[in-house]
Symmetry: C2
Subunit: 264 residues, 2 copies
Amino acid sequence: MGDKKKVLVTGMSGRVADVIRKHLGDRYELSGLDLVAAKGVPCTVADIADLDAIQPAFEGIDAVIHLGAAPKPRDPWEDVLNSNLIGTRNVYEAARVAGVKRVIFASSHHAAGYYPAKAEPYTTIYEGRIGEVRRPFRKLTPNDIRPSSYYGVSKAYGEALGSYFHDAFGLSIICLRIGWLTAPDDPTFSPAALSLYLSHRDAAQLFQKSIDAPVSVGFTVLNAVSDNTLSIWDIEETKRVLGYEPQDNAGEDWTPDPNAPPVM
Amino acid sequence: MGDKKKVLVTGMSGRVADVIRKHLGDRYELSGLDLVAAKGVPCTVADIADLDAIQPAFEGIDAVIHLGAAPKPRDPWEDVLNSNLIGTRNVYEAARVAGVKRVIFASSHHAAGYYPAKAEPYTTIYEGRIGEVRRPFRKLTPNDIRPSSYYGVSKAYGEALGSYFHDAFGLSIICLRIGWLTAPDDPTFSPAALSLYLSHRDAAQLFQKSIDAPVSVGFTVLNAVSDNTLSIWDIEETKRVLGYEPQDNAGEDWTPDPNAPPVM
């Protein structure tokens, strides 16, 4: 255990953390931080809105994966304010005080969620009318900011705040705009997953490479989806910066369920 | 008075509001909102961190100029949280509830302030070593986000939040990344002003054109400086979207004061 990197995961009781524990639990010495204790991992039970309460969890940590948040696009302002705006500042600040070298911030495609909702060809893709998509089309990069909710705003904010903490204090911060990571690991539940799907093993690879990336990465924002043929999310920079080699593809040759839920 | 547009200015007691009152006080029916009452204008005294307290000031208003904020790059987190993160959300929300059609958000060059601090040729320009500047150089656009303080982060956040309020609720929101607007109106106090200077009359023109711009502008982020020869801030989009015709230029033919204060 002694030679393994110590990785603190905020939001350890959530869906994404489950994937990290399953795929990376042997590779790193994981610990957790959440409002409720996670099973099978040492866990600090505290609210990230309370800086003093969470500070001890950061001592001696090599890397932090910051997943903790009000996680739903429809979460109300007050929850987003406490958990995402104040909480993310506190996580960066606690990492800074503790001398943590790397923070991986779970950003989200929702930071640019209004492009898919409002513009072609994104609307056509998200509705699964694949034959109607005119190609090539411009893919979205992390320079695209168009949040579709307070939640999405909080993710764009977490990226900007990360760049400040990097420039001002030297923390290396990697922001991953995570697509749809689902349980079970199956992209066929909605046509929008043709674009947004992030398989469990591709997610695990991204987190592993983000933990182990050289300090020279500094600060970056990267799209994080699988190698989906119909993705509207550009992952060229993700491949270049992290050496990401996605293994999965949501495909394009299945017929969407006409009763599929609407795109969030 | 009846035919004049009703314009509410938050932060009415501040430096930028003085310019608005002096140059645009006859053109619009101005009212103010601030922690202390401004002279010569009807003013609601309230804290923008308190949504209920500020809501009445927004009733019947045609356009809001949102200047109110913890204004200094070194303002501590708690002040930025209350006045800039919570405050800006409350201003957009109050405008939405009251049916205001246009909000002009005073963003800041500090949203990208770390470029000047860290990269050439920006450092050379900001230090006034004009003869050493290699041209052409890439100018910064509103796509560049690299905040240099919590204050700068709050400005990038206010832009992202503005795009959400536009897309979700239909408000038209124009974000102006304001450079250095000083009292007295003189760019020669620091070499950095060669790039950052925004004269009083150019600022007044920008606010006027932002108030009167057609609803079709929707949402936009624009750099707001004078036509400075050595500006690192690209104003081509500002000219295109608003018809901005800057009258002033900080110049490039003066010798900076060797005792000038450092760049913020």
